[in-house]
């Protein structure tokens, strides 16, 4: 049974990825880059939630992942729209 070790490996990768994302968030040269970093972070966060669900052996966390997937997309589009048009809802 090596699945728990693989899970730990994935969690380790995600931790590193989050650290790099945070670093990029603070050092990003432009605003658009920050939006891109936030988008990446939310996708990583979805993976984190799903992994936590596998770890606990329950499907309950998937609902969180669904909601996160929905809201993160809307968030990215809203940021971009604000940068593109100067407002979100016309």
């Amino acid at each position: 049974m090596i699945l728990p070790y693989a899970l730990q490996f994935f969690l380790g990768c995600l931790t590193l990825a989050f650290a790099m994302n945070l670093w990029r968030l603070f050092t990003a040269p432009t605003v658009t880059d920050r939006v891109l970093v936030l988008d990446t972070m939310t996708i990583n966060a979805i993976a984190l939630v799903v992994l936590y669900g596998i770890w606990g052996g329950t499907g309950l966390y998937l609902e969180v992942a669904v909601l996160f997937a929905l809201t993160s997309f809307v968030g990215t589009v809203a940021y971009c729209r604000y940068l593109l048009r100067g407002n979100i809802i016309e």
């Binding site: 049974m1 090596i2 699945l3 070790y5 693989a6 899970l7 490996f9 994935f10 380790g12 990768c13 995600l14 590193l16 990825a17 989050f18 790099m20 994302n21 670093w23 990029r24 040269p29 432009t30 605003v31 658009t32 880059d33 939006v35 891109l36 970093v37 988008d39 990446t40 996708i43 990583n44 979805i46 993976a47 799903v50 992994l51 669900g53 596998i54 052996g57 499907g59 998937l62 609902e63 992942a65 669904v66 997937a69 929905l70 997309f73 990215t76 589009v77 971009c80 729209r81 940068l83 593109l84």
Partner: protein
């Protein structure tokens, strides 16, 4: 399930997880490493999506091996596959409009400008 099948499933799921973890890492590393803004757009849209995809596949199969069926993984995968191109398109349009993308865009070949740079572009 027989023990042999059980071990095989365990190994396969672990392999998928390790691969997915590496891809998730590559996506975030690409953000740091690639020098140009347009290039940075490539890494997370592709690599990170496959990372999440691996996690979702393992989650579905793991629950299935405990004879629980969950359809939400399918929903999340579909949703991410559909929205990743849209987010990328919006980010690319933002980069172009703000002049942060590489300059010297090619000609459209249709006699009209690119939609983002058109004088009064309609809804994106």
């Amino acid at each position: 399930m027989t023990p042999v099948l059980d071990t095989a499933l365990d190994l396969a799921l672990s392999a998928v997880l390790v691969g997915g973890g590496i891809f998730a890492l590559v996506g975030s590393y690409g953000l740091l490493r690639l020098p140009r803004p347009m290039q940075r757009l490539h890494a997370p849209t592709k690599a990170t999506t496959i990372g999440v995809g691996a996690a979702l596949l393992v989650s579905a199969l793991d629950l299935l091996s405990q004879s629980q069926i969950s359809w939400q993984e399918l929903l999340i995968t579909l949703f991410l596959l559909l929205t990743a191109p849209v987010s990328a398109l919006f980010l690319a349009k933002t980069l172009i409009l703000r002049g942060e993308a590489d300059a010297n865009l090619p000609d459209t070949g249709t006699g009209k400008p690119w939609a983002t740079l058109a004088p009064e572009h309609s809804d994106p």
